[in-house]
């Protein structure tokens, strides 16, 4: 049902869409902020563009003793990882590449975020960066297992690691209904992966920006863009995994994909503004003792369902 289309046009569409969604996420975030501040929300729509203009002009910075290569690599890795993860996300009935191991590919690419944030924090040779980098590692250790089980549960429901097959398996009932716990765990871990919302401790204000304290100018622009792209891509992946892909009445499949992605993305951005930062020394226990057993049970239930079918 989902076809691979690796033409240059399709690649371009993918990059443009990820870019637009990332911009929308940033604008939505600015909008929520403006609403809290009691200022005109319309002006917020231009905020990401204005911030980009500022960062393009701003000079770059080095810190004595910084590992410049790793540091710059860390920032640049984020948008690349986000784009590569988007490779297997179908828009309606076409993905750039519907790999037979699509779920594994997506998982592998998004995990590059660990590497990126860690390199950012380590490379800057700054205390805040270092602490921020380590904070992201323990965050990863806490969310990654439930996240992988959520992915696997969706794949289990379809009996395939191909994203197209997972979409096809939801023709009757969406996996969000069939496996609500896996969907919830996926959303939580999506926030954690994009170090967004309650899981933004690695770049927290209490660390003066943490892993993102020292990058300036275009380095910072790439880093921020990469983070919003990652958020957009994990939101987009929720649609084929749990929300029936492009399924929906009247509108064409691609429009449904985009609409559902926008809804999920909006939800994630909103949660980020609604909940204070969760500290990992509190959350780790929850991740391992609540989310992990929960996702395991969900996987068990789904595998029994699959057998009974």
């Amino acid at each position: 049902m989902v076809e691979g289309d690796a033409s240059p046009l399709s690649l371009l569409t993918l990059l443009v869409l990820v870019g637009v969604l990332a911009y929308a996420a940033a604008a939505g975030s600015a909008l929520l902020h403006a609403r809290a501040a009691g200022t005109a929300p319309v002006a917020a729509l231009a905020v990401p563009a204005r911030e980009s203009a500022r960062l393009l002009v701003q000079r770059r910075r080095t810190v004595p003793g910084a590992d410049a290569l790793l540091w710059r690599l860390g920032g640049a890795l984020l948008p690349v990882a986000a784009a590569l993860a988007a490779l297997v996300v179908p828009l309606g009935s076409t993905a750039v590449s519907d790999l037979s191991v699509g779920v594994v590919w997506f998982n592998a690419m998004e995990v590059l975020a660990w590497c990126a944030v860690w390199l950012l924090g380590w490379g800057a040779n700054s205390v805040w960066g270092l602490v921020g980098g380590y904070r992201f590692l323990i965050q990863g250790l806490s969310y990654e297992l439930p996240h992988m089980f959520a992915l696997i549960t969706a794949a289990l429901g379809a009996g395939s690691l191909r994203v197209g097959d997972i979409v096809a398996a939801q023709e009757g009932v969406w996996f969000a209904v069939l496996m609500p716990a896996a969907f919830a765990v996926y959303l939580v871990s999506a926030l954690a992966m994009a170090f967004w919302g309650p899981f933004d401790a690695p770049v927290g204000r209490d660390l003066a920006g943490g892993a993102s304290a020292e990058p300036t100018g275009v380095d910072r622009l790439v880093l921020l863009a990469g983070r919003y792209m990652l958020l957009a891509v994990v939101a987009a992946m929720a649609v084929p995994l749990f929300l029936g892909g492009g399924a929906g009445p009247i509108l064409p499949a691609w429009a449904w994909s985009l609409f559902k992605t926008a809804l999920v993305l909006g939800l994630l951005v909103w949660i980020g503004h609604r909940v204070p930062t969760v500290r990992m020394d509190r959350f780790t226990e929850v991740g391992w003792m609540v989310l992990l057993p929960l996702s395991l049970l969900q996987a068990l239930v789904v595998s029994v369902l699959v057998l009974a079918r």
Partner: protein, 439 residues
């Protein structure tokens, strides 16, 4: 059309705000301006292009301000806002400097030339710390405000011998001279260092340390390990941090091993901004706490209501409803409660506002706000019942005494939350307990 100028004109400024003791009024005015203009407040100077120093000129703070100024990449402009009045025109003029592309280019070129010169000089005399040179050009992007027309540039921080952390004296910048480890670094090498004392020599002895900065040295930690120790300060130039407070920390990983608290500057301060009673002081502490807790939306809304309460001492119905809605939302947050429960517990003989854990303290701040604006009509009277200002001073004094023991052994996130929940008012301390010098 100059593209750089065009982009700059569209850029949204981002301000790094440093508050001196006695600058609370200025800070509140600046924060209000920033919020209404939609300008961002930076968490670190790296992301900022405006440096806003609030409050009277303070020699003790000058070093910190100068360093922060050097860490701003540019385009950059700085401004001192001495008092609450006139923040808007000062910010306007700083923005004007920011938009002046020719001037920014010229200053960037001068800065590069100075850096080159310094690098050459340091090759000669072995001072490798290129990052902290002096910035001797007065009026470098400076809009000056308030009563003092003097430039605040020219701070020389090479002589800054705080706490005996040597700045890698004698290390060449890339000189490859194999100088030894950190003389004058004040580490505890006396305590049981013998088993690994040679490790340093092997690890680093043959290298020239980049930037002329020594590597971290080891010390015993609370779990019986021997790990690298970093010496860092929290404050005075830190976002969402009590004005004038400096915590000198010895860190291992993100755990505080040793801590000292002190007040930087403000010796000439005679009155405190929050001497005028009212819920706005509590709201101000609460918004700062929420910002530290990573809830920027609630913090921003808190600033909004604080400004509204300051503007109308007898709050109108819309303000009252807004404040109460905000209070409900913050109180309902289980996540906030969960992440602050049990932190920084103070018992015994401490003044009332400090008792309990972090959750108790922020809940008390919110209660104070609610008591003042809760019921219509009584707001004025309730406002007067707030603790008088010397009790703020007493609380600040007690908090300063308690802080080192509270934060030792805790990690940075807990330290920030604890400090924000105590929110010692150095201004009240300076105004009402003038004899006090250190925490």
């Amino acid at each position: 059309m100059d593209v750089t100028g065009w982009l700059l004109a569209r850029a949204r400024p981002c301000a790094f705000v440093v508050t001196a003791v006695g600058g609370t009024g200025a800070r509140v005015a600046v924060e209000r301006e920033l919020r209404e203009r939609g300008w961002r407040q930076a968490a670190a100077p790296g992301e900022a292009d405006l440096l806003v120093v609030c409050g009277p000129e303070d020699a003790e703070l000058a070093d910190a301000v100068e360093r922060v100024w050097e860490q701003m990449p540019g385009p950059r402009a700085r401004v001192r806002v001495a008092g609450g009045d006139g923040a808007a025109p000062l910010l306007d003029s700083a923005r004007g400097h920011l938009l002046d592309v020719d001037r920014q280019r010229r200053q960037a070129a001068e800065r590069d030339a100075r850096a080159r010169e310094r690098a050459q000089r340091s090759d000669g005399d072995g001072h490798g710390n290129a990052g902290h040179g002096r910035d001797e050009s007065p009026g470098d992007g400076g809009a000056q405000g308030g009563g003092d027309g003097k430039s605040e540039g020219g701070g020389d921080d090479h002589g800054d011998a705080d706490g005996g952390h040597g700045q890698g004296d004698g290390h060449g910048n890339g000189g490859g001279d194999g100088a030894g480890q950190d003389d004058g670094h004040g580490h505890g090498s006396g305590d049981g260092d013998s088993d690994d004392g040679h490790g340093h020599g092997h690890d680093h002895g043959g290298m020239s340390m980049p930037g002329g900065i020594p590597m971290a040295d080891r010390g015993p930690d609370r779990d019986g390990l021997r790990l690298d120790r970093l010496h860092v300060h929290l404050g005075p130039a830190l976002a969402d941090w009590p004005a004038g407070l400096r915590l000198r920390l010895t860190l291992q990983g993100d755990v505080v091993q040793e801590a000292e608290a002190e007040i930087v500057g403000g010796t000439a301060v005679a009155s405190a901004f929050w001497d005028v009673p009212g819920p706005a002081a509590d709201l101000d502490s609460a918004q700062r706490f929420l910002a530290v807790a990573g809830w920027s939306a609630a913090a921003e809304a808190g600033r909004r209501w604080r400004d509204a309460l300051l503007a109308e001492p007898g709050p109108g119905e819309p303000t009252r409803r807004g404040v109460l809605r905000w209070l409900r939302r913050v109180r309902r947050s289980r996540v906030l409660r969960w992440s602050t429960d049990g932190l920084g517990r103070i018992g015994g003989s401490a003044p009332d506002p400090l008792r309990g854990d972090v959750t108790d303290r922020w809940a008390r701040l919110l209660d104070g706000v609610e008591a003042a604006v809760g019921a219509p009509g009584v707001s004025d009277a309730a406002g007067r019942d707030r603790p008088a200002s010397d009790s703020r001073a007493q609380a600040a004094e007690a908090a300063l005494d308690l802080l080192p023991s509270l934060v030792t052994g805790r990690e940075l996130a807990a330290v920030r939350l604890t400090v924000a929940s105590l929110d010692p008012d150095a201004e009240a301390l300076r105004a009402h307990v003038p004899g006090r010098s250190h925490g």
